[in-house]
């Protein structure tokens, strides 16, 4: 039997400032060591000041993951020497002497299975090491403390995963959840980092670190599962150790440092007084929390009749569900959901592409209305959408420019159908025999009208003319 547990570090990127000082939480794209102050580089005499907003965001996340929030939370120091850690201790939370971390005992359902959350702890990110050349051969290591003190939560699961696929599903659910909750942007580089613990039957537990992406987490666990199983099969002991994911070779390699043997000498952090979390505070946070993905999905299905699968995809994507909320009205909701999930999501699927998307909610709403009211065909709709994304011109302007107005007035359509009947005599006679082949003629009409002909009207006229 395979057992997998995860430790997920998730930065609270939606916060303005660091966990213990007023430097920016967003350290990205800044000149090295420019986003620092006496507190986050731990200068002698400096003291940490807890960011209360971070406690709120972490509390919301705890609630969203079904965790219990204790009556009071406190912080501990985790002591170890490392150059990216300016104080040579990390301010974190620790539950060995009673639950004082922001959350514990939660549960997240995935595909009919429940993954239990052991605890959630609020802590500071260390700085970053920069190597000149490769880390193996470099003579010099530089340190950038811009990231030091960035607020993050560590989410620790129970070893409830039975295979790497469940891990990937869970991580996707979790990423969507933190994004929907407005606590983090999980797709920012380094915002969500995952370490895994995996063991096979009759083997020891192995920790895997340094995995860059969710996809690689699944690969690394797969590799490790296979490696451990083949050891066990040959009666070779699986050593309890920490292994790093080698991204280039797509394998795990044993870490030379014996991190698992480190004694962190945890100590209460006396500079941060114990924080009482009152029940009414929790309730007010609960009220401030945005609608959950599950509730959203239910609403899409029940209120708008959006098909289950479409609702599923739409509700779990924060960007597109926000767009949907802004663009839709009672009558066009279903069509907008349809456009987003069939056309838009394929077009703009990465964070960058989404950010660059030139689409106003007004334009999207107009497009959906036009399709519903047969002003343009679905096919033309796709062309209009492409044009909107390219030019961000208004719906009416695009339709006029490209002459895409739907042809549903019968007289002009009839003329074109008559022309097609002349050109396709053989097909016409065939259709009379076998009405199923009438679609061929519809296709010809569509081509002649460059997709503007309303397919339903066209079919109706053809049938009438052929009396089939």
């Amino acid at each position: 039997m395979i057992k997998i547990g995860l430790e997920i570090h998730c930065q609270l990127t939606k916060l303005e400032s660091k966990l213990f000082c007023s430097c920016k939480a967003n350290y990205r794209n800044l000149e090295t060591n420019s986003n620092i102050c006496p507190v986050c580089v731990g200068l002698p005499g400096s003291l940490p000041l807890l960011n209360k907003k971070a406690v709120e965001k972490a509390s919301m996340l705890s609630l969203a993951l079904g965790c219990k929030i204790p009556e009071h939370i406190s912080f501990f120091r985790k002591n170890y020497f490392y150059p990216d850690l300016p104080k040579n201790f990390q301010i974190t939370q620790y539950n060995a002497y009673g639950p004082t971390s922001i959350g514990s005992d939660g549960a997240v359902p995935i595909e009919g299975k429940t993954i239990r959350i052991r605890r959630i702890q609020l802590e500071e990110d260390p700085g970053r090491l920069l190597y000149e050349g490769s880390s193996e051969k470099t003579q010099i290591t530089l340190v950038d403390y811009n990231r030091a003190g960035t607020p993050l939560v560590e989410i620790v699961t129970e070893p409830d995963f039975e295979n790497p696929r469940q891990v990937r599903i869970f991580l996707n659910v979790l990423a969507d959840l933190v994004e929907n909750l407005g606590v983090s942007d999980p797709y920012l580089e380094g915002a969500m980092r995952v370490d895994g613990n995996i063991s096979v039957q009759n083997g020891n537990r192995v920790e895997i670190k340094n995995v860059g992406s969710f996809r690689d987490v699944e690969k690394a666990l797969h590799f490790e599962m296979t490696r451990q199983q083949s050891l066990v099969d040959r009666n070779i002991q699986v050593i309890a150790e920490t292994r790093h994911w080698d991204d280039a070779r797509k394998i795990t390699v044993s870490s030379r440092s014996k991190e698992e043997e480190q004694d962190y000498r945890y100590l209460p952090e006396a500079d941060i007084p114990i924080i009482l979390i009152k029940q009414d505070k929790i309730e007010s946070l609960r009220k401030q929390m945005p609608e959950s993905i599950v509730d959203k999905k239910e609403r899409y299905i029940k209120k708008y009749g959006i098909p289950q699968q479409v609702a599923d995809v739409l509700s779990s994507d924060k960007f597109y569900s926000d767009l949907f909320e802004k663009a839709h009205n009672e009558s066009n909701a279903k069509e907008i959901a349809n456009i987003i999930t069939t056309d838009l999501m394929g077009f703009a699927d990465t964070r960058e592409k989404k950010m660059d998307l030139n689409l106003t909610d007004r334009n999207l709403s107009d497009l959906a209305d036009a399709i519903i009211h047969n002003k343009i065909t679905r096919n033309s709709g796709k062309i209009v959408l492409q044009e909107m994304l390219k030019t961000s011109k208004s719906f009416s302007e695009i339709v006029a420019n490209l002459d895409l107005g739907s042809m549903s007035d019968t007289s002009s359509l009839e003329k074109i159908i008559d022309e097609v009947f002349k050109e396709e005599e053989k097909a016409v006679s065939e259709a009379k025999q076998n009405p199923d082949t009438v679609n061929y003629i519809v296709g010809k009409v569509m081509r002649k009208t460059k997709g503007k002909a309303n397919p339903n009207t066209t079919l109706e006229i053809i049938r009438k003319k052929l009396s089939v």
């Binding site: 006496p38 005499g45 400096s46 040579n88 100590l267 500079d271």
Partner: protein, 483 residues
């Protein structure tokens, strides 16, 4: 010009233009240059800057501009409290050249009130010690007898105030570090309630128990400076939000009708005879002034030294981890070292006492020992707190000698850490329980050495405490320092 006047007297002379600040500061600097060779209180003398500030304040007074509450008062600052632009060394090789980019909150509050930072004073390395012998820059000496230790760790504070090298000083008190030198040097030293004075800019040794505290020659001067340095600080989450209290107002109200408890465990075995008789004399003086004295037993004191050194060392081992010489520190060839080897080479430059406590602290926190030592020490601490709470239900103040023995010879106990640790027995209760305590000069022994009396009050009862201390001070007349 009498450099020994109290700050209160000085302020009225300055405000009435009877003396100039520049002249007084110049005289103080002359005094420092004259006596430093004998007492070694200072690590850094801020003479030029102090004179410039003095001129500015004189000008303010001449032009009738508003001046601060501490106008022109020369104050020395223990060298573990950060001062922007002025070295803050912690009397350690590790911070030999460290210049903080910011002022500690207490320092900026002093500057705001026109106090003059005259220099940075000596201490045991990182405030670990009770004699000031463990300074990287060499020991300070007792102005009353240069062969004796001045107490510690804020030895430089006690010495500089006692030897008239400044008018007041800021020290820090982790286990008695303000009160011990106050007692040994015959000056007043206050350890405020934990959370009353900001620690922002105080370089941490044991952050759950230490406080910055003032040293002065007179209780009224302590009240004056407390009006400036106390109160909530937005840079220190452990400071308490409370309405401001005027410690000067009503200082001479007396102690009639107050109940004072003499702590039995502070006058038992191992206490010097002269210290004991001074304590008894203090009790009868207070009774003469209308106070009622009763014996009080605090049997948890028996475990206090062990608990204190466990907690303080544990916190020290974490607080001092940051000194890896990567971002600041001293010059050391960097070539050829891997990180861990470099750090351990660097950290071998801590002095012997710091090293001892770092090792002890790392040990008591290590896996498997945490419960046996650290948690047990915290239990003792909780027990002491509940005994103190009980005691203050019955009495207004507790009293005892500050130090169990008289100042002793330099080097006499330097190789005997246990004996030195035990000297803290009377002072550490205030640190472990957070309550305020003050040491008031009371007597000079037959051998010419100072004896201080210590008074404790309940948390945030500094105003009452200073009133009691003032009453005791007014009941005695001590001779001047023979220097």
């Amino acid at each position: 010009m009498n450099l020994g006047i109290s700050a209160t007297e000085y302020l009225s002379l300055v405000r009435n233009s009877q003396i100039s600040v520049e002249e007084f500061i110049a005289k103080t600097i002359d005094r420092i240059k004259m006596v430093e060779e004998k007492v070694h209180a200072y690590i850094t003398i801020n003479d030029q800057d102090a004179l410039n500030k003095a001129k500015l304040i004189d000008k303010k007074i001449r032009t009738k501009e508003k001046t601060g509450k501490l106008s022109g008062i020369p104050i020395s600052v223990k060298d573990n409290i950060c001062t922007a632009g002025l070295k803050t060394t912690c009397a350690s090789k590790m911070l030999e050249n460290f210049i903080a980019p910011y002022d500690a909150t207490v320092v900026s509050r002093l500057k705001q009130e026109d106090a003059i930072i005259i220099g940075k004073v000596n201490l045991d390395e990182f405030a670990m010690g009770s004699t000031t012998e463990f300074s990287y820059f060499g020991p300070s000496k007792n102005p009353w007898n240069n062969e004796c230790v001045p107490g510690g760790s804020s030895g430089g504070s006690g010495v500089s105030v006692s030897a008239l090298e400044c008018m007041m000083s800021l020290g820090s008190d982790t286990g008695g570090s303000v009160r011990s030198p106050a007692s040994f040097c015959s000056v007043v030293g206050l350890k405020p309630t934990y959370g009353l004075v900001s620690r922002y800019g105080l370089i941490s040794y044991a952050n759950s128990i230490e406080q910055i505290g003032p040293v002065a020659r007179k209780v009224e001067d302590i009240a004056l400076i407390m009006n400036v340095i106390s109160g909530h600080d937005q840079h220190d989450d452990t400071t308490v939000k409370k309405d401001a209290i005027d410690y000067v107002e009503g200082l001479d109200i007396g102690i009639k009708g107050k109940k004072i408890g003499l702590v039995q465990q502070m006058t038992g075995d191992g206490v010097d005879k002269e210290v004991l008789s001074a304590t008894n004399k203090a009790i009868s003086k207070l009774q003469d002034l209308g106070a009622e004295c009763v014996p009080v037993s605090l049997d948890s004191l028996e475990h206090s030294v062990a608990a204190y050194y466990t907690i303080a060392s544990a916190e020290a081992s974490s607080n001092l981890s940051r000194y890896d010489n990567l971002r600041y520190g001293f010059d050391l060839g960097t070539g050829g070292y891997e990180f861990k080897a470099y750090v351990s080479k660097v950290r071998s430059n801590f002095g012997s006492e710091v090293t001892r406590r770092l090792l002890l602290g790392a040990f008591v926190l290590s896996a498997g020992y945490y419960g046996k030592y650290y948690l047990k020490a915290q239990k003792v601490r909780a027990m002491m707190k509940s005994q103190i709470d009980e005691a203050f239900k019955k009495v207004d103040f507790l009293i005892g000698p500050t130090m169990p023995i008289l100042p002793f010879k330099l080097g006499e106990k330097i190789d005997d850490p246990l004996t030195l640790y035990k000297l803290d027995i009377n002072t550490i209760t205030a640190n472990l329980t957070g309550i305020p305590a003050i040491s008031v000069p009371f007597e000079i022994s037959s051998s010419g050495l100072p004896i201080g009396i210590q008074i404790f009050a309940n948390s945030f009862e500094e105003k009452n405490l200073l009133q009691a201390a003032y009453a005791l001070q007014q009941s005695v007349h001590l001779r001047e320092v023979p220097l």
